[in-house]
């Protein structure tokens, strides 16, 4: 996947910087690279839900490692987004147990309602739809993850509508 440069400087807030120190201190002396995955999560949360080249380079400097060490990790793990995503990233599990309990229907309902295809973002920038692999919620299928939350048993259109409404209201309230 191609990494994107924004040309913009990134910097953690005071609070996040504190968190960074706390995370790095968890590991034995000289093993600060262990903080890489947690720091990339922190960066992704703080810098708009994805990792630009600038964000990755920033993390590399904090850990005193080469930028390439960050790129190779960021490209390996599926949770790091290397291009911008919508305000709400809807990650629908498509693996076997979810598939046999209606995951495909859930994806097509979302595609229809949001007027986007899997992998795309709505023009208002609110939603990105993405299929992912097993999220360890197989008994509560069909399901999707949005941010910190798992939304499970999305087996009717009403529940899907409700979820989208709830997210839209949340966005409106914060704007």
């Amino acid at each position: 996947m191609l990494a994107i440069r924004t040309g913009q400087k990134v910097e953690f807030s005071e609070q996040s910087l504190q968190k960074v120190t706390e995370i790095i201190n968890r590991y034995p002396e000289g093993k600060q690279k262990s903080a890489l995955l947690p720091l990339l999560h922190l960066a992704q949360d703080e810098f708009g839900g994805w990792l630009s080249v600038e964000a990755m380079d920033y993390v590399a400097r904090m850990l005193h490692i080469q930028p390439i060490e960050v790129y190779e990790v960021a490209t390996f793990y599926s949770m790091y987004n290397l291009k911008p995503v919508g305000r709400f990233l809807l990650e629908v599990c498509q693996t076997g147990p979810c598939m046999i309990r209606g995951a495909e229907k859930l994806v097509s309902q979302l595609e229809e309602k949001l007027k986007i295809k899997n992998g795309e973002t709505t023009t208002d920038g609110l939603f990105t739809l993405k299929t992912v692999e097993c999220l360890a919620a197989c008994g509560y299928a069909p399901m999707l993850q949005c941010g910190e939350h798992y939304h499970e048993f999305l087996d009717t259109e009403e529940k899907v509508d409700q979820l989208l409404d709830q997210l839209r209201r949340k966005a409106a309230a914060n704007n």
Binding site: F76, P97, A136, C138, G139
Partner: protein, 444 residues
Amino acid sequence: MSRKILLDKIGIAGIETFPVYRSNGGYASVEKALKMQPADIVEEVKKSGLRGRGGAGFPTGLKWSFIDKKSGRPRYLVCNADESEPGTFKDRFLMEKLPHLVLEGMITASIALEANLSFIYVRGEFRWIIKILEKAIVEAKEAGFLGRNILGTGYNLEIVVQTGAGAYICGEETALIESLEGKRGNPRIKPPFPAVSGLYGNPTVVSNVESIAAVPWIVNNGGAEYAKIGVPKSSGTKLISACGNINNPGVYEIELGLPVKDFLFAPEWCGGMKNGKRLKAVVAGGSSVPILPAGLFLKTANGEDRLMSYESLADGGFATGTMLGSGGFIVYDEDQCIVRNTWNFTRFYHHESCGQCSPCREGTGWMERILHNIENGHGKMSDIDLLWDVQKKIEGNTICPLGDAAAWPVAAAIRHFRDEFEWHIKEPKECMVRNFGIAEPAIV
């Protein structure tokens, strides 16, 4: 057959908090372990017969006894909470509902291994669980069960919650260690085994959440008592996460040796097939284990009732048996297409292959394309033998067992449902018209 030792306190209000957990007997194993010789704790775990609950079923006590204590290098315990095997959602349940049980197990296990720094590696998607665990750690520290000079004994232990970032392969113990070092999750060549050279090149034990959660009971009650639960060679209880076309999907603690028929049809467990459908097939231990058609799942090739135990599920080898695996129990009804399911699983393994070994990297992609073709009506009869050939060339030819995990589901599907593959190739649009492998007569 419904003894509970992991989930026995699950109904108690507030059990996820330290005071309630403690007042219900929690952390007693830490007090006891601190008065024992570490080697004696390992001995009790050995005696218990506890087998690793992460999938491979290797005896936990034996694994712990391999840890190198002689070199004097720091030792680490790593609790594997990566839980990514399709069908498996039991560790999540334990951590959500009983975070202090998991911590208690980790502390007791760390005492046994004489580790002063331990990690719990949680899959990155479980963000709320990371918070639950971090809160529990703060509570345990305040109460003196973690941190410096635990309970005044001079023993120090820190537990770090480490987050993954979306990669099934990081459940494999050496990939997990790489990831914990801040790298890509590429499994290491063994030997050396982690017990000799693991995290930061130091002796390390990686154990599954559920294995670790069984330790407090074993230390409190003795390994011999634990060994009395269940059946010989499959002692104790096991969490089974049941999903698919059943009435009651969820997480259940069963005593090993429970007849599979009871587990599948009795109301206290899966509650039978949803919508009164007939049973077609079961994947008994997570997506990696061989799928069995209804008949062979319910009874072994010798006509014996199959039990939920390591031995009984494996009876007949891969020709007619399967594995208990991680306890991810996936049930398929008569409306499910085996070709489609196999394609779906193969896509999963292709996506999750780390790419180090060419048989796995190329083979999983190749199998996915063949299965995709068959599923979409472009299959040829020769594709079935080709698939068989490709999976055979992956099996056993990779650094880590992900290759096997990708090969076995394909092999089992062809072995038991070859007629369905053939029919699918001949009549792709009518794949569900004829039923293959369904339990007759219908069991309700």
